[in-house]
Amino acid sequence: MSFLKASDLPAIPTYRVIDSDGEMVDRTRTAPDVTDEEVLTWYKNMLSVSVMDVVMFEAQRQGRLSFYMVSAGEEGITVGSAAALTPDDVVFAQYREAGVFQQRGFTLKNFMSQLFANDNDAGKGRNMPVHYGQNYPRMHTISSPLATQIPQAAGAAYALKMQDLQNPTRDPRIVACYFGEGAASEGDFHAALNIAATRSCPVVFICRNNGYAISTPTLEQYRGDGIASRGVGYGIDTIRVDGNDVFAVNEAMKEARRLALTDGGRPVLIEAMSYRVSHHSTSDDSFAYRARVEVEDWKRRDNPIIRLRKWLENQGLWNEDKEKETRDQMRKAVLKEFGEAEREKKPPLREAFKDVYEEITEEQREQMNELKRILETYPDEYDLRPYKDGAKGLD
């Protein structure tokens, strides 16, 4: 009799393409199969998210928006993976995937309208900041509860699979589902992988393992070989990649997408290793549970943006002047959209009640009339100026 000992098993290797100096890890292999133009687009998208993060984090500190979450250190995972998707693929994300939105055409105006919950926000001013959403290319609106999106992604992938079988002329699609290593402790994660495997769903699960779930380090989150080892347990093709290496992420995602559509479909798991350089959110002060020096070390040691910049400079595609000019332009563009979004009115008050049901219920209609009566009876008690149409917005 012998028990299989987890600690005796070899660690799952980490796939890498370039090292922290921006050099090919394996000099014998061919260069990444991607055009210079494409890589520059990735770099600019990563930079744009990073520039936006700095401005918005500070804006939150000034009280100009209620909340913000940066994705510092994870831009390579989001941009690199989203670049391997087609516009018809569907995304379910968690809340640190601004890079996926950026790469898939979400504009600065879209970002700012959501962050300021104004009348141009697709979410109708209802959601907390960073809960972006877009119909096409489809990225479902972010839901704060962790891991709920993972089984939904499996179901959505099954829907795509059925539809693509019923209509073989269209290009088959996949679902890409993002979450963190903390969320992978929720029951929903396990349910999702198991059901996706049993129904052979064309879904790629992308775990951003950034080392922390708010204050909880991975050592208290799980034992065993990361999140990747679980994929194998559910019978799912799995790879671990270096999340600071945008080429590794992109190549893994391209191959995962191909696998997901092979033989009628199957789920794939990617565990992308990174480090959450930032605080969890503007509500968090991470120096209460980790040393400042740990964060500074990481920032210096490695970071997906700096690594790609080194690669681009090695290729002669980038330099300090371009960097400075691009950052300046981006900052100006962010501030311009910021100002416009901040000035825009909030949606009309009826949006508080709409979309709970397909139609406003008789009870809600009565409540809206009652609220309007209150607003008109006590006009000094409410400032309706920020809202489109004021009290009439309830009609």
């Binding site: 209802r126 704060s144 402790s185 409540q367 006590y378 000094d380 400032d383």
Partner: protein, 387 residues
């Protein structure tokens, strides 16, 4: 599940501005609650001494709500080795600082982080309780308790009933969770799901209104009852509400309401943070309508609730307004109104009025208009008095 598990500062600090509109400078009712002067809190140790719930001659200290929870947890961990404290991010003090320094003092065997899984936390806590420990489990936000719903509804609540003659039960189990709106929590950092749990016989549902109440009710939940308790903490009060709290061990009975302001013309029934707004609305109405005197009752325990105190009050006043933050539909107000209608029908001078959240979700930009405020409570009292 945890969300944006985004606690700390922005959830508990009074926002520098409203993100869902604000009262105009001319506002007289919808002013920010002045926690420094509200009669709901014990601003001096002598006001504490005059209250029957607190130990006679106790020394006290001014604490905010999270410090009072921390004090209760520390008292509980010192009092009994059976007490365990765990949940997400509990080790470093918790995202709302309720467990600060407790791991250092009591060790990581008794105070520890769990992986991020609410169903796991609740089930683990039930297992601890049925084998003789007193687990205090923290769910980071009430909005994230739903994965644990199965464990609470089907397991904790039914344990004693199912076991029958074995006598085994989940008593000693307390599941704490921050609840309620703060002004910018939107869909998933604002909810107050007390009525969902109050529908389930077998769990006690408690929501304290202040630091001193919180300590006494939490210690009673841990030590005085052999029933599982869902303990809901209005997170907006964590830093805002400060009052004198007795230093020593004391308990406040569960399932016992408190008349916090006597009156003769109308009874306002509420619990948790809206009590502060009720108090402000009552002051305004008593000023606007001289001679009128309104009684204010804090349910404290939502279920099983103190029906007699409420029925007796309304038999006396003949008029009742029930106020709560969560949605009016199938809410606590419906239960209270129906009970009053059954037990005080012939004494009622007006229909029982409910002032509560509207039947929708807590949209970020609309929070101020969805949840009850002082103006709406004032209007509800006025309408009921003039009926």
């Amino acid at each position: 599940m945890v969300p944006l598990r985004t606690p700390l500062r922005s959830w508990t600090h009074i926002p520098r501005r409203f993100y869902s509109g604000a009262p105009t400078p001319a506002a007289k009712l919808n002013l920010p609650i002045d926690y420094k002067t509200t009669p709901i809190l014990h601003h001096t140790s002598s006001s504490l001494a005059n209250t029957q719930d607190f130990p006679a001659g106790a020394t006290s200290k001014r604490l905010n709500f999270f410090q009072a929870i921390n004090s209760a947890l520390k008292t509980a961990l010192s009092k009994s080795e059976k007490v365990l404290l765990f949940g997400e991010d509990v080790a470093f003090g918790g995202v709302f600082r309720c467990s600060m320094d407790l791991q250092t003092e009591f060790g990581s065997d008794r105070v520890f982080n769990t992986p991020l899984t609410e169903q796991g936390i609740a089930g683990f806590a039930i297992g601890c309780a049925v084998e003789g420990m007193k687990p205090v489990a923290e769910i980071q936000f009430a909005d994230y308790v739903f994965p644990a719903f199965d464990q609470i509804v089907n397991e904790a609540a039914k344990f004693r009933y199912r076991e029958g003659g074995t006598g085994i039960n989940a008593g000693g189990l307390v599941i704490r969770m921050p609840c309620g709106a703060v002004g910018h929590g939107a869909l998933y950092h604002s909810q107050s799901p007390e009525s969902l749990f109050a529908h389930i016989p077998g769990v006690r549902v408690v929501m304290p209104r202040s630091p001193a109440q919180a300590k006494g009710l939490l210690l009673a939940s841990i030590f005085e009852h052999n029933d599982p308790v869902v303990f809901m903490e209005p997170k907006i009060l964590y830093r805002a509400a400060v009052e004198h709290v007795p230093n020593e061990y004391y308990t406040i009975p569960l399932s016992k309401a408190e008349v916090i302001k006597p009156g003769k013309d109308l009874t306002v029934i509420s619990y948790g943070q809206p009590l502060y707004m009720c108090s402000a609305a009552i002051s305004a109405i008593e000023q606007a309508m001289p001679g009128v005197n309104v009684e204010l009752i804090d349910l404290r325990t939502i279920y099983p609730w103190d029906r007699q105190t409420v029925i007796e009050s309304v038999k006396k006043t003949g008029r009742a307004v029930v106020v709560h933050e969560s949605m009016v539909n199938y809410g606590v107000g419906a239960e209270v109104a129906a009970t009053l209608q059954e037990n005080a029908f012939l004494r009622l001078e007006a229909p029982v009025k409910r002032v509560a959240g509207w039947s929708t979700h807590t949209g970020l930009s609309y929070e101020q208009f969805i949840l009850p405020d002082v103006a709406r409570i004032f209007d509800g009292i006025k309408q009921t008095l003039e009926y």
